[in-house]
Amino acid sequence: MSAKKTLLSIENLDASIGDKNIIKNLNLKIHYGETHAIMGPNGSGKSTLAKALAGHPDCKITKGTIHFKNIDLLTLPVEERSNEGLFLGFQYPIEIPGLSNSVFLKAAINAKNKYQKLNDVSATDFIKELKQKADMMGINQSFLSRGVNEGYSGGEKKRNEILQMLMLKPTLSVLDETDSGLDIDSMKIVSKGINSMLGEDTSSIVITHYERLLKYIKPDVVHVFHNGRIIKSGDYMLARELEEKGYEWLTNE
């Protein structure tokens, strides 16, 4: 078996929000085809990592490097990170009243095509694929012409995030608490969507508080975040252990 190729490499990363240093000397390597779960108590820096990767303007990198596909990610503006294949599933998806879901998604796909010097997507191909994937995510067709996340329930918003991910076909998906606020049916649909994306050429970072999503997704690696660092890594059994014992046995050490 050939050596696994690295997709994402974070080295000695410090990141702050405002004046507060949140991520402290973080190191993380993700290979193509891997799913990593990041768990940890509130305020441990999980969401800040998602922001740092996407290039959120509130998040300042004060030390260290991030390489994505061997590109220095920190030199890329937000839209280019996306167009290089980095997708962020938002913990709180944003509403854009009046802008229809399908117009928004098409604009995003065409932006990506343009970046890759490809032609615009054909309208018929786009609609066909969108309908098929919306069905898979249990999203009613009527939602596609409604405003982006406008008046959606919490579960609908999260399913819509996964629909966008499926349409944009990222190389790395960073899913920030996609499972929070989901009932068990939505949880199954969302995990089905995520699993359908997994393959040799794609990777994902799944940020979550709970083991229940991981039951369906089966991550390759589970990391425990505390105080902006990874304090323990293991396989799926670590998530089971955390579910039973909580975080205290780790954070008190």
């Binding site: 959120h56 303007p57 503006p77 839209e79 944003i94 854009i96 117009v103 604009a107 405003g147």
Partner: protein
């Protein structure tokens, strides 16, 4: 946004910002322009140049005498430099050896000008479903598809031609919806108007194509005072669109137009405007003063008049397209997007005057302000004593970009009938950093993201535009917002 990220240059955006106002060129064409100044002799000269009948000259002179007694209105939420009406030339026409008899004889330079503006003056053009009347400074230079329209009985011509060919219609309808006594700028227009478009749709005819007029100011130190009159006879239907552009000049130029619409029983008029006069530069220098009186008379039963306007240009806009709902069951609609950037000021809205029974009106106003711009919605809804069971729905939404602009709303309501229902909704919002980040994370650059968010905000109005122009209007909104954020 993170300044470090934004400095990565994007040639696309740089290009777009460069061409901020792409219609700012001038056409080098010999014009006949009369000396600046306004008095009765100038009005007689204009009327003589146009070979007008006596009744029209008499009407102009009455209007001028009335105007001379008036003071400029000062109630608008506008900051305007004093206009010296004696410094303006009231007539300018491209010099033509002989009046062109057909489109083939129109000066190639003029054709080129309209080509540059994306307006086809040849009938095999890409907008083949649209008939165009092109008004250049004070005169109409060409009207397309006249023959085809005549076959359907539709009269579509320049105002001057209509005065010659159909004086009885002009006499019957001119000044009946907007009398010269209406207001300061309506009086000025009545005295000095030079051209415009005239449309008559006979009984029961559905106009077979979209009609449109493109207004272009070219000469310096001139004003444009056009007059449009559209009459839809019983059971007829017409959709009409006007567009406007002007060169970039450091001085302010005056545009004072009047539009009158008459809809008889069961007739429908849809009037759309894409107004893109030069808005002045980023410091607020130059630009068009746009003082326009537009009014539709739903004179007949079951008639309908619908105004849609996209106001992106002009340094100052003062404009309230209105409906007089006289016929029972008549319907008035007003859909508006007013965008003001930099130092632009827009004071716009509508009046819905319910006189007939079961009359309905709907007002959807979207105001967008960026940089130091001021945007005002001013509306009046009146329900008369006998207008039983009338209804009005008003929705005013304002969107602010940045923290130095302003949005103002002045809705007035007067109800004299207890069986009528009025609803009013108003919102003010901002484009949030969260919305922008969400779009940009999906790969869409900032300028496009703003364009998308704005088109979402304006959706209800954009949906009202004829298909051919909706795309153009979206693009125009985006171009006019360049540099608005950051």
């Amino acid at each position: 946004m993170d300044p470090d990220n934004n400095q990565v240059s994007n040639p696309e955006i740089d290009n777009l910002i460069e061409k901020n106002y792409e219609y700012g060129f001038t056409t080098d064409i010999e014009s006949e322009t009369i000396a600046p100044g306004l008095n009765e002799d100038v009005i007689r000269l204009i009327s003589k140049k146009k070979g007008e009948p006596q009744f029209l000259l008499d009407w102009r002179l009455k209007a001028f005498r009335h105007w001379s007694k008036l003071k400029e209105p000062a109630w608008g939420q506008l900051n305007i430099e004093k206009i010296n009406y004696q410094d303006i030339s009231y007539f300018s026409a491209p010099k033509l050896e002989n009046a062109p008899k057909s489109l083939d004889e129109v000066d190639p330079k003029l054709l080129e000008t309209y080509d540059k503006l994306g307006i086809p003056l040849h009938e095999r053009a890409k907008l083949a479903g649209v008939a165009v009347d092109a008004v250049f400074d004070s005169v109409s230079v060409a009207t397309t598809f006249k023959k085809k329209l005549l076959e359907a009985g539709v009269i579509f011509s320049s105002f001057s031609e209509a005065v010659k060919d159909h004086p009885e219609l002009i006499k019957k309808y001119l000044g009946k919806v907007v009398p010269y006594r209406d207001n300061y700028f309506a009086a000025l227009n009545a005295a000095v108007f030079t051209d415009g478009s005239f449309v008559y749709i006979p009984k029961g005819v559905r106009c077979p194509m979209e009609l449109s007029t493109y207004f272009r100011i070219n000469e310096a130190n001139t004003g444009q005072f056009e007059r449009t009159l559209i009459v839809a006879d019983e059971g007829s239907h017409v959709s009409y669109l006007e567009g406007c552009t002007a060169p970039m000049r450091d001085e302010n130029q005056l545009h004072a137009a009047v539009v009158e619409l008459v809809a008889l029983d069961d007739a429908e008029i849809k009037y759309s405007t894409v107004q893109n006069w030069y808005p002045g530069d980023e410091e607020g220098k130059g630009g068009i003063y746009n003082f326009v009186t537009k009014r539709g008379d739903c004179r007949g039963k079951n008639s309908k008049i619908s105004w849609t306007q996209i106001e992106t240009g002009s340094s100052v806009t003062w404009k309230y397209p209105s409906c007089l709902l006289r016929g029972d069951n008549s319907i008035g609609e007003f859909y508006s997007i007013a965008l003001s950037n930099h130092h632009q000021q827009a004071d716009t809205g509508t009046k819905m005057i319910h006189l007939g029974k079961n009359t309905k009106s709907k007002i959807i106003s979207k105001g967008i302000s960026a940089k130091k711009a001021q945007n005002t919605y001013r509306g009046l809804v009146t329900i008369a004593k006998n207008a039983n069971h009338s209804r009005n729905y008003t929705q005013c939404d304002s969107l602010l970009i940045g923290d130095k602009c302003g949005a103002h709303t002045f809705p007035s309501i007067g109800v004299n009938n207890s069986s009528s229902i009025l609803e009013h909704e108003a919102t003010t919002s901002k484009i949030s950093d969260d919305q922008l980040f969400y779009c940009i994370q999906r790969g869409i650059n900032e300028e496009d993201a703003i364009g998308l968010i704005i088109s979402g905000f304006c959706k209800e109005v954009l949906n009202e535009l004829p298909m051919e122009f909706a795309v153009e209007a979206r693009a125009l909104l985006q171009v006019n917002l360049e540099g608005a954020v950051g």
